[in-house]
């Protein structure tokens, strides 16, 4: 086996003895993933825990604690899954399978909403549709004289719409990838058989992409079920509870055991559906498309429908990308949150405190807490990106090198476990484990370190995935041929392996960074006043009714994410000149 000992240039001998690294990794994964989940389970098996199980499931309280939130969660999950399948599937079909104008731009636009955090869309919705039922200032429409009914201002329907607007691009990405793997030959073979377009669509194309449809539906379902921001911002004010907001409420009010029980139930619900969909998709019919030529896809002419369908796609894109950003921007400038376009002021950004506006609070760039939060957020993003990629690379290396062994199987299964755990439930597990001192170690609760550890653990599946793809780019041959020239390990490391791996590592790191910067559901439980992060500050402001501040901070988050993505894009092209973007 070639030694791709990336991790200890001087200790290569030890690594090759093949004991230290795997043992270390097993220990790390055990502490990061297994221990918290085990701990949260064990905590609910103590007498207090068992009482909490009883209270949640079999008591007069259980309707409020479990059944109603479960019902809301399932409604959200199914409607979001169905909605994303429809919209994402429609756009994917349009972009991949038809001659719609501007296909590339439509495709790009369809991937953007996933970049915008769901709480941004939720805040934008509130800014537009909020009505006066709860007091406070009304939204744009009601201020402009349009009466907004409650069902459109609060609760399940707006939450579902906001989540669909966020998650449809995930469905789009999955379905579009599957559709482009349906080679033109498969379609033309159907034409040769004399089948008409509907017959080809339902008889060939649809069945071939069914696994992708199921995957898209179950992933968007799981995303909606786990989401905290949207139901918290649009549902909590009218006491609409989902499992994740319920769980948050329990822990926030100190009823930790009940919170843990709800966390376990949430994990069970989400994992059950992911597992079911996996069962349906796998097996003999988990067909890989067998095509040689590949690449070429059949595009059907739309005829008279070209421009109408193009318009529909553009409207969907604009409503879910440009619109929320514009609304947030206008709102952060408007002293009266309902009158989006009048009396614009920079007060919420740079104004000094003490005036009439915003109850005398200073603008966000004059607020030391916020500046603190900005640095904390960037620091968190950077540190987590670094630790995650390092850990992912080490795990991927071990898994790839020991493919087939028990160790590799165990490691990869454990590393992918967090995929089944909604982040807010994962955070709850971390509170269960680190909320109290362990032996001589102090309690980590509320520290920056705990945030880093929890986030790294939660990102493990993604990290291992990208680590594997990075290592996949460096074939054993490439490394061996360098070795035959007599280049030493360190020389090979810097001349061969690093240049080949850097792009993949960088891309992965940037994605982790962006995920962390816009994350709310993981930090919402682990956050404390001593380590504030932007998303949490925005959520606090929104909860207290300072919409302009919340919107302004959300814009800052968007700008940071956008800047990181652009930086990644330009750096990538510079780092590996031999590759076309």
């Amino acid at each position: 086996m070639t030694s791709l000992s990336l991790f200890a240039p001087s200790g290569g001998r030890l690594l090759r003895s093949g004991f230290l690294l795997p043992a270390f990794l097993i220990a790390v994964v055990a502490i990061l993933v297994v221990a918290p989940l085990l701990r949260i389970l064990l905590t609910t098996l103590t007498p207090e825990g068992l009482a909490a199980w009883k209270a949640v499931l079999f008591s007069p309280l259980s309707a409020n604690l479990w059944w109603r939130p479960l019902f809301n969660t399932m409604i959200l999950g199914f409607s979001v899954g169905a909605g994303c399948l429809l919209i994402g599937g429609f756009l994917a079909w349009l972009v991949v399978m038809t001659d719609v104008p501007g296909r590339r731009y439509l495709g790009l636009m369809a991937t953007l909403p996933y970049m915008i955090p769901s709480f941004a869309a939720a805040l934008a919705w509130g800014t537009l549709f909020r009505n006066s039922r709860l007091g406070g200032s009304a939204g744009f429409f009601e201020t402009s004289g349009l009466a907004i009914p409650d069902w459109l201002a609060w609760g399940l329907i707006p939450t579902a719409i906001v989540l669909i607007a966020h998650y449809y691009s995930l469905a789009y990405t999955i379905i579009a990838a599957a559709l482009s793997s349906v080679g033109a030959d498969l379609v033309e073979a159907g034409q040769m058989a004399g089948a008409k377009r509907p017959r080809i669509f339902f008889g060939i194309i649809l069945p071939v992409v069914t696994p992708a449809l199921i995957a898209a539906a179950s992933l968007t379902f799981a995303g909606a079920v786990a989401n905290f921001a949207a139901p918290a911002l649009l549902g909590l004010p009218v006491r609409m509870q989902t499992l994740s907001t319920r769980l948050f409420g329990m822990i926030e009010t100190g009823q930790n055991e009940r919170g843990f029980v709800l966390a376990l139930l949430l994990i069970a619900v989400s994992a059950l559906f992911l597992w079911l969909s996996d069962r349906i998709v796998s097996g003999r019919r988990a067909f890989v498309t067998v095509t040689g030529k590949g690449g070429r896809t059949k595009r059907f002419p739309l005829g008279a429908w070209r421009w109408p369908l193009f318009t529909v796609a553009v409207v969907i894109g604009l409503l879910t990308t440009v619109m929320p950003v514009l609304v947030l921007a206008a709102s952060s400038l408007a002293p009266q949150s309902g009158a989006l376009f009048s009396n614009w002021t920079l007060h919420f950004w740079i104004g000094e405190g003490g005036g009439e506006i915003a109850q005398g609070q200073a603008g966000i760039f004059r607020n030391p807490v916020l500046i603190d939060a900005l640095w904390n957020t960037i620091r968190l993003g950077l540190v987590v990106a670094f630790t995650t990629m390092l850990l992912g690379l080490a795990l991927a290396y071990t898994i790839v090198q020991r493919r087939g062994s028990l160790l590799a199987t165990v490691l990869s299964q454990l590393a992918f476990l967090p995929l089944l755990v909604p982040s807010i439930a994962f955070a709850a597990a971390y509170i269960a484990l680190f909320g109290a001192p362990i032996g001589p170690l102090p309690s980590l609760y509320g520290t920056f370190a705990l945030l880093v550890i929890a986030a790294s653990a939660h990102n493990l599946p993604f990290a291992v995935q990208s680590g594997r793809s990075v290592l996949g780019q460096i074939s054993a041959d490439i490394e061996e041929s360098a070795r035959l020239t007599g280049a030493g390990l360190i020389r090979r490391l810097f001349a061969i392996i690093f240049p080949l791996a850097i792009r993949g590592l960088f891309a992965g790191a940037i994605l982790v960074f962006v995920k962390m910067v816009r994350d709310l559901s993981l930090v919402v439980l682990l956050f404390t006043a001593t380590s504030p992060v932007l998303s949490m500050v925005a959520y606090r402001y929104a909860a207290e009714g300072f919409m302009q501040f919340a919107n302004a901070i959300t814009l800052v988050i968007l700008v940071v994410c956008l800047a990181a993505s652009l930086l990644a894009h330009s750096l990538q092209n510079r780092v590996q000149k031999w590759k076309q973007p």
Binding site: D185, A189, M192, P207, R285, V290, T291, G292
Partner: protein
């Protein structure tokens, strides 16, 4: 069956066919016709337009100009586009990638076109069993395409294509994804199927050996044009252009560019042939088959000195490749012959050239 009704009509008739993609002309003024039951091979290097031609025959592309007729009926034309849909021309296409539908079993793949054509169930089942055994793949009927080997997928693709009993079979480089041994096996298999179905076949390949072994008619394509069309043996014996002369035949024939000096045709310093062969041209190319070039000096035959490059034993003789300057020449030696690469060896031209071509590539007839 249609062929009988229309009597003498050609099974496939292509007239002045042109296909343009934007500014690029892929197929230029092609005229071909073959009788029913023929095995037409379209052969040429990649990018010569042969696949485009086949896709127009299948009805997957519309021609820019010209006409395609199947058994006396126009199926596509530059004016009317695709007149008969792909599914309505009673033609079947075997794809290079096989294009098996991955979500259907082998039997399902074969049965689907019959379902589309509304065959009754019992007739359909009988036909599926029939073609499965014709291709020798009965045992695979319940497998999915991903579960069988490349050679087996190939057989399924053929079975699927012949199941609806098309009168015209189209093949798009069907053997190019198979390994060498399997390719030879499938070659005779395809010819057996061609005879068994009685369909007129059009077969696209870049492999001249496939063209020579399988075809009743060959069209050599180059740059979108038919360089020459005819029976394989005629093309081999009487190439009309240098392209055909060098593209067909194993081992490849040699072309030597010569100048007229006095009454001789001279290569370098050596007179190879009498000037009369060149008619009124001053510079011509002489075609010598490998078997007409001998290693060693032969009394009375002109000879040239070449640098030895490589030798390959073939059927008791040796095929020798040597370089004269930058020109690669293939010669034959009796028995087993070898030398050190770079070594000077004499080559003698023991017969008159097989054909003479103008500098521009056309054949000069005496």
């Amino acid at each position: 069956m249609n062929a009988i009704a229309t009597g003498a009509a050609d099974a496939i008739k292509i007239r002045s066919l042109v296909k343009r993609f934007g500014a690029f002309t892929a197929v230029k003024d092609v005229n071909l016709s073959v009788p029913a039951g023929a095995f037409l091979v379209l052969v040429g290097p990649s990018g010569c337009g042969k696949s485009t031609l086949l896709r127009m025959l299948a009805g997957l592309e519309a021609p820019s100009e010209g006409e395609i007729g199947f058994v006396g009926q126009t199926v596509s034309s530059g004016v009317g586009g695709v007149i008969a849909d792909a599914g309505r021309r009673n033609a079947g296409l075997v794809f290079q990638s096989y294009a098996l539908w991955p979500h259907m079993t082998v039997a399902g793949n074969i049965a689907w076109p019959l379902k589309v054509a509304k065959w009754p169930r019992d007739k359909r089942d009988r036909r599926v069993r029939e073609v499965l055994s014709l291709l020798g793949i009965n045992a695979l009927s319940e497998r999915y395409p991903a579960e069988i080997s490349g050679g087996q997928q190939q057989r399924v693709a053929i079975a699927r294509t012949i199941a609806p009993e098309p009168s015209i079979l189209l093949f798009d480089e069907p053997l190019s994804n198979l390994d060498a041994k399997l390719r030879i096996e499938m070659r005779s298999e395809l010819m057996r199927i061609h005879r068994a179905t009685g369909a007129t076949s059009v077969y696209v390949t870049h492999d001249q050996v496939e063209a020579m072994t399988m075809a009743t008619h060959v069209a050599v394509l180059n740059n979108g044009r038919v360089e020459q069309f005819g029976k394989p043996i005629d093309l081999l014996r009487n190439p009309q252009t240098t392209f055909v002369a060098t593209f067909l035949g194993t081992p490849p024939a040699n072309l030597l560019g010569v100048r007229r000096i006095d009454d001789g045709l001279v290569f370098g310093e050596t007179t190879l042939a009498p000037a009369a062969l060149a008619a009124d041209h001053d510079e011509v190319q002489l075609l010598y088959r490998a078997e007409d070039v001998c290693v060693g000096v032969t009394a009375g035959a002109p000879s040239l000195v070449a640098r030895f490059a490589e030798a390959a034993p073939i059927a008791g003789r040796t095929m020798v490749t040597a370089m004269i300057g930058e020109l690669r020449v293939t010669a034959m030696a009796d028995g087993y012959f070898t030398a050190t690469p770079g070594e000077q060896i004499p080559l003698s031209f023991i017969r008159t050239p097989d054909a003479v071509f103008a500098a521009t590539g056309e054949r000069i007839h005496q």
